[in-house]
């Protein structure tokens, strides 16, 4: 399809400064996918997210495994002596950091040194967006300075991402991805079926992994883009206060409406929607031992398609008989159970990919429950350029990253080309951009700021 161009460089005249932790990594990376020049200002020891596993130790042959660190180990944690770390001892082996910091630049400096202030002021005068993330105490401390700097640059957009937002009685509570998934309501609707007495013997589940920060990061990117649009119209910057807690709360479908309107609390159930009552179990396994999402919605066309599929595969059934239609009217549960048993038989008879293709050919929205890596070689995603091949010189190879959610018919709408930066990899470039000359850089170096 002939189309307009990709949005992958549509924001490339904007500069974003990012200071913070894992709460902000993803938001800035999303914006960097649209071409924003995202500069990570890191403390000299590196951003905290450089210390989140898993860790890779190049070359790949040297990768070790351990229980808590997939690639490093508890007794030999990633250290300043890593072959890929540089500029002050930060670690560059965090695969977490790699994932969430594509396309960015890194400048390492002592963020809290008094000599850094004029430098930050220069940057504030030239930047368009500042993203501060982390625990409330740290963010508030930094925000004080950025409020002052924003008063000198009225078009500056300053966004904070904190666990609970800058105001409110919970603002100082501590949290992690897990506890955010708990308090935001996602855990309460995810997990396994209760027993026959409707009592749960398994805990609520936080789907893996980092989704609290995903949702918050997406909302932060939306809010920043809204502010950019507003700035285009008005010339004015503004402050944005993103709460991870609120972000997670927006993302639980019918849980809140069911309670508000009907006073009902939805119940978590295995691999299907939480609902005010327990619905029928419907996971089935294919001949090659893959779980399959194979179920039918209430639409008549799906019932017809399934009967056709059963015929194709040679599953005997009475779905088209008047007796079955009668059963549906008189005992819908029994009819449902009968049909579910047929689905299970059918799925068990074929490999998952074949069930998938046959069902989809008849318009049934079925899918194998794939591992993420199963998609790496799927021709569909190759054709769509869904993965971005990013070169890792320290590994001597490319890694495929999920690189976009949309295309323009030919190209992805988000454009990821550069691996996450090593600590301080772009310090000189960033200082020059800010307007520092060589003498000033040397002075800062002598003061121990760089």
């Amino acid at each position: 399809m002939k189309t307009q161009t990709s949005l992958g460089s549509s924001l490339n005249e904007l500069v974003l400064l990012e200071i913070g932790n894992e709460l902000g990594d993803y938001a800035a990376m999303l914006l960097a996918g649209f071409g924003i020049d995202a500069i990570k200002l890191e403390p000299r020891e590196g951003s905290p997210s450089r210390r989140i596993g898993p860790f890779a130790a190049p070359p790949p042959s040297a990768i070790r495994t351990a229980r808590t660190h997939l690639f490093g180990s508890a007794d030999a944690p990633p250290s300043a002596s890593s072959p890929v770390s540089n500029n002050g001892g930060g670690d560059s082996r965090s695969v977490f950091f790699w994932r969430y910091n594509l396309n960015k630049k890194s400048a390492a400096l002592d963020l809290d040194h008094t000599a850094t202030r004029p430098l930050l002021a220069r940057m504030a005068a030239k930047a368009d967006i500042v993203l501060l993330s982390g625990e409330i105490e740290t963010v508030e401390q930094r925000l004080e300075l950025w409020r002052e700097l924003a008063s000198q640059n009225a078009s500056l957009i300053v966004c904070t991402i904190t666990p609970f937002g800058l105001t409110g009685p919970y603002r100082a509570l501590k949290s992690t991805d897990l506890t955010q998934m708990a308090m935001g309501g996602i855990m309460a609707v995810c997990g396994y079926d209760p027993d026959a007495n409707l009592e749960y013997d398994t805990p609520p589940i936080a789907p893996a992994m980092w989704h609290a920060y995903h949702v918050a990061g997406e909302y932060a990117a939306i809010a920043i883009l809204a502010a950019v649009n507003f700035r285009d119209l008005s010339g004015e910057g503004q402050f944005i206060d993103v709460s991870v807690h609120e972000a997670v709360n927006t993302c639980t479908e019918i849980a809140i409406p069911s309670y508000i309107y009907n006073g009902q609390v939805v119940l978590r159930q295995t691999a299907r929607h939480a609902f005010p009552h327990i619905t029928q179990f419907r996971l089935s396994k294919s001949r090659d031992d893959v779980y399959m999402l194979a179920s039918l919605s209430p639409f008549e066309r799906e019932a017809r398609a399934f009967a056709e599929l059963a015929d194709q595969v040679g599953i005997e059934h009475v779905l088209k008989t008047p007796e079955y239609k009668q059963l549906e009217k008189e005992d819908s549960r029994a009819a449902y159970t009968y049909r579910n048993d047929l689905i299970e038989q059918l799925v068990a008879r074929l490999p998952a990919q074949e069930v998938f293709e046959r069902a989809q050919a008849l318009g049934l929205a079925w899918s194998p429950i794939r591992r993420p890596e199963d998609n790496l070689t799927d021709p569909h995603f190759t054709a769509r350029h869904s993965f971005a091949a990013i070169h890792h010189p320290e590994l001597g190879r490319d890694l495929l990253y999920p690189g976009t959610v949309a295309g323009d018919g030919e190209q992805p709408h988000m454009n990821y080309r550069r691996r996450a930066p090593e600590l301080g990899e772009h310090t000189s470039e960033v200082l020059e951009w800010s307007g520092c000359d060589r003498d000033e850089i040397e002075k800062l170096r002598a003061l121990g700021v760089l």
Binding site: P54, T68, S175, P207, V405
Partner: protein
């Protein structure tokens, strides 16, 4: 466009979006765009086979709810009122701030009317099954001929281009395919727990809003439109964390970890049962210091003094036993009381909140004004879930330009067709007569 309405200071002032979306994934994006001041015109058709499923999906507003009342009249179970498509609670929460009109796209005059609207719009969004718009001759290529600046966003399960381009999908299908369903749950032999809702009806909507805002800005600056082929499954793939990289580095298949933390020495790390029915607290201990505070707060039980638990490596190595023992303590505790006591020691702890906890109790959401009361023309005023960020100059307002929750089916026909598109009363009557609107 629509400038006369945008007296407020909003990020998307003057933007008009033709909204053909339905269910959740499409409307999620336009909900956000409406809350930033875009004029979102939601097009539906009243034939029962074409009505948005969310209009007749539970939860419904209680049967006693009236236009002048709402939540103040109390919550109650309802099966809806047969033939009435204006009482859906989830629909109301999904579509606030939008104008609602009816238009029959199976009628040639309906399609002509849509073409006329597209000429005067910034963007059009749809999430029909792949190919439906092409069947109507309303695909991107056709619409850009009418309006070269148009932004066309199409959301499908697996995308409009590619081997599976004709495949169909609901949120759970995309979740299964992307890897997200597999990743959620207890380790094997437990099956995947998956997601208790369509996460991939939410997140792609967030991306849709993002992509649209980038495209609208470019359109304003350079007059260029865009075609956006947004895939729910690709969105899911973006959210699989580090699993794809781990696989490429180690060749080890992705596995499940339950609620545990595989990437840091955080332990205990999970959900623990508390007093009461299905009450749980999530606790993430990040250091030995936090561990010592935790056991002290629990009265230093004998089991917790076991040397195996003294450091993170030991706790990690004995996590099954640790979780069992810890549960024997938490099960005696009130969940909120324990949460606040642990928080006093700066231990990340949070109640696994259910809907009543989040709506009736959560003081943070209350203080931040998270739920927004908005009127609906048939079922009255109900709380609507808000936008999770506060913008100081162009705040999000889920009531959008309408100042209202979701529209009734065709509620704004007169306003939109007559005021915005300047049809005469006679023309409108004729279109009604012909079953076009």
């Amino acid at each position: 466009m629509a400038e006369n309405e945008n007296t407020r200071r909003s990020a998307l002032a003057g933007v008009r979006i033709i909204d053909l979306t339905w269910l959740q994934v499409g409307p999620q994006a336009t909900r956000i765009l409406a809350s930033f001041g875009a004029q979102v015109i939601r097009i539906e058709w009243r034939h029962p086979a074409a009505v948005d499923f969310l209009r007749y999906m539970q939860p419904f507003a209680p049967d006693h709810a009236t236009a002048q009342g709402g939540r103040s009249q109390g919550a109650a179970r309802s099966h809806g009122i047969r033939g009435n498509f204006d009482r859906g609670g989830y629909y109301n929460n999904t579509n606030p701030g939008k104008y609602g009109i009816t238009l029959n796209l199976n009628h040639p005059k309906g399609r002509d009317l849509l073409r006329q609207m597209v000429r005067e719009a910034n963007a059009i969004c749809e999430n029909f099954s792949p190919g439906q718009m092409d069947k109507w001759n309303l695909g991107y290529e056709e619409l850009r001929r009418l309006n070269p600046r148009i932004i066309y966003m199409q959301t499908t399960g697996v995308g409009k281009v590619g081997t599976y381009k004709n495949y169909v999908s609901y949120g759970p299908t995309a979740q299964a395919m992307s890897g997200l369903t597999f990743m959620s749950g207890l380790p094997e032999p437990h099956p995947p727990a998956g997601w208790g809702y369509s996460y991939l009806d939410h997140s792609p909507g967030y991306f849709g809003a993002m992509l649209m805002m980038a495209a609208l800005r470019r359109q304003r600056q350079s007059g260029v439109g865009a075609y956006i082929d947004l895939s729910q499954t690709e969105t899911g793939m973006m959210l699989t964390g580090t699993s794809l990289l781990e696989y490429q580095l180690t060749g080890k298949p992705t596995s499940r970890y339950g609620n545990r933390m595989p990437y840091l020495d955080w332990s205990p790390h999970g959900a623990y049962r508390c007093k009461g029915e299905d009450n749980w607290i999530a606790i993430s201990v990040q250091s030995d210091e936090q561990w010592r505070s935790l056991i002290e707060e629990l009265g230093s039980p004998q089991w917790a003094l076991d040397a195996r638990f003294a450091n993170a490596a030991g706790r990690k190595a004995n996590e099954d036993e640790l979780d069992r023992e810890l549960t024997s303590c938490t099960v005696l505790e009130d969940r909120y009381d324990l949460m606040m006591r642990l928080q006093a020691h700066e231990i990340p702890a949070g109640v696994v909140q259910k809907a009543p906890d989040r709506f009736d109790h959560d003081p943070q959401l209350k203080a931040r004004g998270y739920y927004v009361d908005l009127p609906h023309s048939e079922i009255g005023t109900w709380p609507i879930e808000g936008f999770p960020a506060k913008l100081s100059r162009s705040p999000a307002d889920v009531g959008g330009l309408t100042g209202r929750a979701a529209p009734k089916l065709g509620e704004d026909n007169d306003y939109v067709y007559r005021e915005l598109f300047e049809l005469t009363a006679d023309e409108l009557a004729a279109l009604r007569q012909e079953d076009v609107i």
